[in-house]
Amino acid sequence: MVTFTLNGKERSFDGDPDTPLLWVIRDFEKLTGTKYGCGVAQCGACTVHLDGMPRRSCITPIATIDGSDVVTIEGISGKEAQAVQTAWTGLDVPQCGYCQSGQIMSAVALLQMVPKPTDDEIDGAMTGNLCRCATYHRIRAAIHNAANSMEG
């Protein structure tokens, strides 16, 4: 039996301990904002915050997160999250939208650690998040906008 908090709520899981966090979140907790894109930590669509750090939930066995704090796109809050989501809608970043939960989770984590990232720092934090629609140009601009909005 694994217990953890998910978006602030106490949860437990007693299925196959190898089950990746991604499928626990989606299939058992029915939170579907976190997406599957590759299953092998290559695309970032499954990014969640694990104890405050961005993590690819597709390669994180549930057994390894006992006692941890998990936050998904449905549960993010705080000024960085708000700034990022506002910047995202302001620039109409999403196209198909499928990768965007993961993009936003990575961007929020970046701003929590680096309030005013440079382009290189954005590259460093966001390279693991693929967008097949190639919305990268707007993702970069939106992160800068979000950082600027937090200054004021």
Partner: protein, 717 residues
């Protein structure tokens, strides 16, 4: 019906003055709640016609006959409706329409479907009429209620007003009454100069749900009791199951059943991970008797053998053979081999089946041709078509992948569902590996080009031979193999283009911008080489071969101006240019490139000029150019699906089928040419020019033309 037919009939349709575009009245099934993307509040929605519902809460819901997978039809079609309805943008909503090949036909195809960058073009007049119709019905209802002449009622930003009696109302109060008015047959449409919404950057309707995790895609549909099925597929095209042992798979906790279907072995489980684990535990022996066992290199060697055989004629003007026999010519030759490409949409293929108590079945999927999905599923499930409802869902991209005649994906999904009995709801999903190895690729092509330059430096002859699979499975000329080459925009007196169709067990498919993915590259790199050979500037030289007034020339001049083409690029960088017309839209791009630290091209900036007629939503057009540039660039730099020795597919996931990442994405600037021409598509036309623009810059940097793709294969080779 082909993409080509789609394009030509679309032109015919747009040109066909006086053509009556019917706005069907609301079909009966619209009284049911719409499935798919929720339209918003719990208000009652009253259908005005097949495309517009007005809510008692003042919302206007547009039923989009086109699937939303990122190219913006929800917003685009809603804009057209809102314009003629004089609605306020904040009251607009959009959902997918139900499936009906007649009412919701793409007017360019004659059946319901999305593709060929046709959504706005085919719906331009129809959706405006749908809005104008609804407006007239609301006015009629208000006139009746207020006992005033309809002609005295005005509508502005979602408010009905009668100045004489100082009365005013939103739409919702009249939704009920309006729905019972006679549907006007030919409502008057606005003069484009009076547009207030069309042509502005309205915020997209689907953005909010896509930034907070609430947007629902097929994969997110998780009804109670759901079974998840994953299929073990062969690693060779054309292979079939010889035998299998499922004893270990059945022991996996959560695995419920295992069945053989024609496409492979399906594992059914209570959750996704159990299905994945179960599939891994299968032991399958494949029969390769009918499989493709040649490698990509062997295929390429066979392709080039066709170069010297007589081919199918796609263009023949002047006399090429004679032109090449003239004295004092310089001849330039090039052979380029293009690899197979997977579409790799972010959401792999999936579908959900739910049986209703009356035995009918609801299917939820990213249906690009919902009518085909319905037909195929009904046949396999042995149900009447009326008992199979295809509920189109938001999809995580397609890029052509979901546009399949005969719906082979739905065949597999429906067989998986049928094989297990169909009593429990079922989700069939492909993994990324299934997607990368699943075929339906942009086919491999080989091009041979030959150009003649006379003593005065004029390009006098152009010969091009194209070898590859026919996407349309034709025995004769397939226009999708030669589009962009057979209609070469440059004035060259002697032109000959031929093609050879090759048959392989690897299923081919259109990939974002179809034939232009390779013809655009071949034509635009070769013309650049010929111009370089005679010392002409790539922009000036192209302009001299184009009509001054042409839209090709217009975008080319614009992109050159944006890039300050005549100026010297920063140290270590070079600029390349390309211009391609596809799907009726014209796009020119200039790319600024250097040699990166790893020896591969580093693309710093792309300037893009697009002429797509009336710009319905400039912001979406720009987004499509940016996305098209990223998609095209990623493929040209990094991507190939290759068959190794024995025909095994060599790539399996994003680690070896690379996608462009944020650090590789250039800065992009887009300008839209002002135009009063009818709108044309933008989903695909941003893709073709970027590859040749980068390759042309690369040739300047390295003195070596790009004859092999992806470009990184030149560096590691």
């Amino acid at each position: 019906m082909t993409i080509h037919d789609i394009t030509t009939s679309r032109r015919g349709f747009l040109a066909g003055a006086g053509l009556v575009i019917g706005v069907a009245i609301a079909p009966k099934f619209l009284s049911a709640a719409p499935t798919g993307v929720p339209a918003g509040g719990a208000a009652e929605l009253k259908p005005m016609n097949a495309f517009v519902k007005i809510g008692t809460d003042d919302t206007v819901t547009v039923l989009s006959k086109h699937i939303e997978f990122g190219q913006g039809p929800f917003t685009g079609l809603a804009t057209l409706v809102a314009e003629e309805l004089d609605a306020d943008w904040s009251q607009m909503r959009a959902v997918h329409s139900p499936t009906d090949n007649k009412i919701y036909a793409n007017l360019a195809f004659g059946l319901q479907g999305t593709g060929g960058s046709s959504s706005i073009a085919n719906a331009y007049e129809q959706m405006r009429k749908a809005g104008a119709t609804a407006r007239a019905m609301l006015i009629a209802a208000a006139a009746e209620e207020w006992s005033v002449p309809a002609a005295e009622i005005t509508v502005e930003k979602g408010r009905l007003k009668h100045a004489g009696s100082s009365r005013e109302s939103g739409f919702g109060a009249f939704a009920d009454k309006a729905a019972t008015q006679t549907v006007p047959q030919d409502p008057k449409l606005k003069d484009p100069k009076d547009f207030v919404l069309i042509g502005t950057d309205l915020p997209k309707l689907d953005t909010v749900g896509k930034t907070n995790g609430t947007a629902i895609f097929t994969l997110d549909i998780t009804p109670e009791g759901l079974l998840t099925a994953i299929v073990a597929h062969p690693k060779h095209f054309g292979a079939t199951v010889k035998s299998f042992d499922d004893s270990e798979a059945r022991k996996v906790r959560g695995v419920v059943d295992v069945k053989q279907i024609p496409q492979g072995i399906a594992v059914y489980a209570d959750n996704t991970f159990s299905a994945l684990k179960g599939r891994d535990a299968l032991k399958v022996e494949w029969d390769l008797a009918k499989a493709e066992t040649r490698s990509s290199a062997e295929l390429a060697a066979e392709y080039v053998r066709h170069f010297n055989e007589p081919g199918l004629e796609a263009a023949n003007t002047g006399n090429v053979d004679e032109a090449f026999r003239q004295d004092g010519l310089q001849t330039v030759e090039a052979e380029i081999v293009f690899p197979f490409l997977a579409h790799a949409p972010m959401e792999p293929l999936d579908a959900v089946f739910i049986k209703a108590t009356d035995g009918s079945v609801d299917i939820y999927n990213g249906a690009q041709f919902p009518g085909f999905d319905q037909q195929v599923a009904a046949e396999i499930l042995k149900l009447d078509e009326a008992k199979v409802r295809v509920n189109t869902q938001l999809a995580g991209g397609s890029f052509g992948r979901k546009a399949q005649f005969g719906s082979p994906y739905m065949q597999e999904a429906a067989m998986v569902y049928a094989a297990v009995g169909g009593d429990r709801p079922l989700k069939h999903m492909w993994t990324r590996e299934d997607d990368i190895q699943g075929g339906f690729y942009r086919p491999m092509y080989a091009h041979k080009m030959r150009g003649a330059i006379d003593a005065e430096g004029r390009i006098t002859a152009w010969e091009q031979v194209i070898v590859g699979q026919s996407i349309m499975a034709k025995a004769d000329l397939d226009s999708t193999s030669v589009e962009g080459a057979s209609n070469l925009p440059y004035r060259i007196p002697n032109l000959k283009v031929t093609s050879h169709n090759v048959t392989l067990p690897i299923p081919p498919l259109w990939w974002r911008s179809v034939g232009h993915t390779h013809t655009g590259f071949a034509v635009e790199t070769f013309v650049d080489e010929l111009l370089a050979r005679v010392g002409r500037d790539p922009v000036e030289g192209r302009l001299a071969l184009l009509d001054k007034e042409s839209r090709h020339a217009g975008v080319l001049r614009k992109a050159a101006e944006m890039a300050d083409w005549g100026s010297t690029p920063p140290e270590g960088r070079a600029r390349g240019v390309a211009v391609v017309e596809s799907f009726g839209s014209f796009v020119a791009q200039v790319a600024e490139v250097s040699v990166g630290a790893d020896g591969a091209p580093r693309v710093h900036k792309v300037w893009c000029a697009v002429d797509c007629g009336v710009a319905v939503n400039p912001n979406i057009i720009k987004a499509q150019m940016e996305g098209g540039i990223g998609y095209g660039l990623g493929a040209v730099l990094f991507d190939a699906i290759t068959l190794g020795k024995g025909g095994r597919i060599m790539q399996s996931n994003f680690h070896d089928y690379r996608s462009i990442r944020i650090n590789e994405m250039p800065d992009v600037a887009v300008e839209i040419i002002k135009s009063v021409e009818s709108p044309t598509g933008v989903g695909e036309p941003g893709v073709p020019p970027v590859g040749p623009a980068v390759a042309n810059a690369w040739r300047k940097l390295t003195n070596a033309p790009v004859r092999q793709l992806p470009i990184v294969s030149l560096i590691s080779a």
